[in-house]
């Protein structure tokens, strides 16, 4: 990428030939062909989608059993290649292996749809998703190399648990189906956050740290998004009178407990500064679920809770040197401040003076946030990561 620049600097006399050679060698070794990776990822995605469409459009020509047999044989081939050729594929390009694992997982997921088509059966969506996770989750966890497989695992888990919770809402009104308790649903919906400690533990111990790091990050994101959502619900007073169901105190207690538990495990699994702070964020997100419930109806307090959560994240990011996370946290706080100004002063907006005042306030908040995130943000994550790496 920067070879041309280095050459120009050399010719301008800024660097000598040795420095030039050293720089070029360094760049060569640390090159991250992002465009190439993106093409690999998109190629894998396109093949997966193409398989679904081919199956969907031209399937009546071939008998069902034959089609299913071909589908299973393709899947067996992909998995066999993954198992036998893993070392060679990784040596050639880690992305080839990543794409193959993702294709195998996609073939596995489409097999459920294919079965439904051949036998004219249907079931609630969470059932095939849960079976898919049970059959293909271990494979993905054992071979995943990067964000693609990590997102498949986390995405599959989140889709599955929320479909399950959604289906249970209907089961509540049905006499035929056993009712699932609120506590069980709260446990199930918060279970994906446990991928956080899992990722944290294996990050330092596996030959595939990138995969586990992505998994930990995704779990942390899930916890923070959930806590922010709870704070938003508190500011619209959604908890009022919810004595049973997903917004009840006991449900949120279970989820908060899961957050604290996952946070503690994550900190234990990766006892570096960065690991302990990541664990602290997950635990803090869990705790803010309970605080949000307690604050229900007090819109100023709910807004303060949201900002406290993100200040906590910003502080952790500052200490651990996560530049992007810090900037995101500052942006989240600024947006919440702007929304708060509308909430508190909605009548001001009705007058011309109020509009001018609100506009100035928004500009001031945006400018301050911009300055803070420029001035105080730690240096870029990658640089820190490489320095911190043992």
């Amino acid at each position: 990428m920067s070879a041309r620049k280095i050459e120009i600097w050399h010719q301008a006399g800024l660097i000598d030939a040795d420095t030039r050679a050293a720089l070029l060698a360094y760049e060569e070794e640390h090159a991250r062909p992002l465009a190439l990776w993106a093409v690999f990822g998109m190629g894998a995605l396109a093949i997966g989608l193409g398989l679904v469409s081919v199956v969907a459009a031209n399937w009546e020509e071939v008998p069902g059993q034959v089609r299913l047999a071909i589908h299973l044989a393709l899947l067996g081939g992909a998995l066999g290649g993954l198992f036998v050729k893993e070392k060679q594929l990784v040596a050639a390009s880690p992305w080839a292996l990543e794409a193959l694992a993702a294709i195998a997982a996609a073939l596995g997921l489409t097999f459920f749809g294919h079965l439904g088509q051949v036998y004219q059966t249907s079931s609630p969506l969470w059932v095939p998703l849960a079976l898919w996770l049970a059959l293909f989750g271990p494979m993905l966890l054992l071979t995943g190399r990067s964000w693609l497989t990590a997102s498949l695992v986390m995405g599959g888990a989140l889709y599955c648990v929320w479909e399950y919770a959604w289906a249970s809402e209907f089961a509540r009104f049905s006499p035929d189906e056993a009712e699932r308790s609120d506590l069980w649903l709260a446990f199930v919906t918060s279970a994906p956050v446990l991928f956080g400690p899992l990722g944290a533990y294996f990050r330092a111990r596996s030959t595939r740290p990138d995969f586990w790091r992505r998994l930990e990050e995704l779990a942390l994101t899930y916890a923070v998004v959930g806590a922010s959502f709870a704070a938003a619900l508190a500011s619209v007073d959604a908890f009022q009178g919810e004595e049973i169901g997903p917004l009840s105190a006991q449900s949120l207690s279970v989820q908060a407990g899961m957050g604290l538990f996952a946070g503690a495990l994550a900190a234990l699994g990766r006892p570096t500064l960065s690991g302990r702070l990541a664990g602290a964020i997950i635990a803090g997100a869990g705790l803010s679920l309970l605080v949000a419930r307690a604050l229900g109806g007090l819109d100023l307090a709910a807004a303060l809770l949201f900002m406290a959560l993100w200040l906590w994240i910003a502080a952790a990011a500052l200490k651990a040197g996560w530049r992007g996370v810090f900037q995101l946290a500052v942006a989240a706080i600024a947006i919440r401040l702007i929304v708060l100004s509308f909430e508190l002063a909605s009548d001001l907006l009705l007058s011309g003076f109020g509009l001018i005042f609100s506009g100035m306030l928004i500009l001031a908040i945006a400018y301050t946030a911009y300055r803070v995130s420029r001035e105080f943000a730690p240096p870029s994550e990658n640089a820190v990561d490489e320095e911190a790496a043992p």
Binding site: A56, L75, F83, T121, L135
Partner: protein, 207 residues
């Protein structure tokens, strides 16, 4: 040892697991009695499973057995006629011909429990609580278009063959068409005439 575990999780578990599910679906699909039921309908499409035709079942339920609630609703709402929800059906007849279908609200009704050929609503299926009122059959793209045309033609009668399993699950198997009989054509004309009268009455009321 580690290699054996890897082989299990990377190869055996996914492939054998899916094969077992396949075997189970195959086994289930062979159980049950085949019946034919008249249908009405139209079509959209499903991305994951390709094309399907969607239809409403015209169960031969005798008018006096028809849902009482729907009758009340009709009395209250005037011309507005909601489709009654069917929760449980008892099929009577010589398969595949259904002589009569009797609707039940309560599955513990002794008459229903005695019934030889039972169908029950499947809340977990695509149509949920409407799964005995509406259904779909997956077919290829070209055939789906053909069927859609046929279903729109009112001089034909669509018939769906379905398999009724012991546990009350209904699985559509095939679809075919036959021209309307004279009686059916007459009945259709009568319904249309009645609809026209209701529409006129509605128009008068709203004006």
């Amino acid at each position: 040892m580690i290699s054996a575990a890897r082989a299990f999780f990377l190869l055996a578990l996914p492939v054998a697991g899916l094969a077992a599910l396949w075997w189970q679906s195959e086994d289930l699909s062979r159980q049950g009695t085949d019946w034919e039921v008249p249908i009405q309908g139209y079509d959209p499409r499903d991305l994951l499973r390709g094309h399907y035709v969607e239809f409403r079942y015209d169960w031969p339920i005798r008018p006096e057995d028809a849902d009482v609630d729907a009758g009340d609703a009709q009395a209250i709402e005037g011309a507005f006629r909601p489709m009654p929800q069917i929760n449980h059906l008892c099929l009577i007849g010589d398969p595949p011909v259904i002589a009569e279908a009797i609707a039940f609200e309560d599955p513990t009704d002794p008459v229903f429990e005695q019934c030889e050929h039972k169908l029950s609503v499947q809340p977990g299926s695509v149509y949920g609580y409407a799964s005995l009122s509406r259904g779909r059959l997956y077919v290829g793209q070209d055939r789906a278009l053909e069927l859609e045309e046929s279903l729109r033609e009112t001089d034909q009668r669509g018939l769906v063959t379905f398999r009724q399993r012991e546990d009350g699950v209904l699985t559509p198997l095939a679809i075919r068409f036959r021209p309307l009989t004279d009686e059916e054509r007459e009945a259709r004309e009568q319904t249309r005439a009645a609809d026209a009268v209701i529409d006129e009455a509605e128009a008068l009321v709203t004006n």
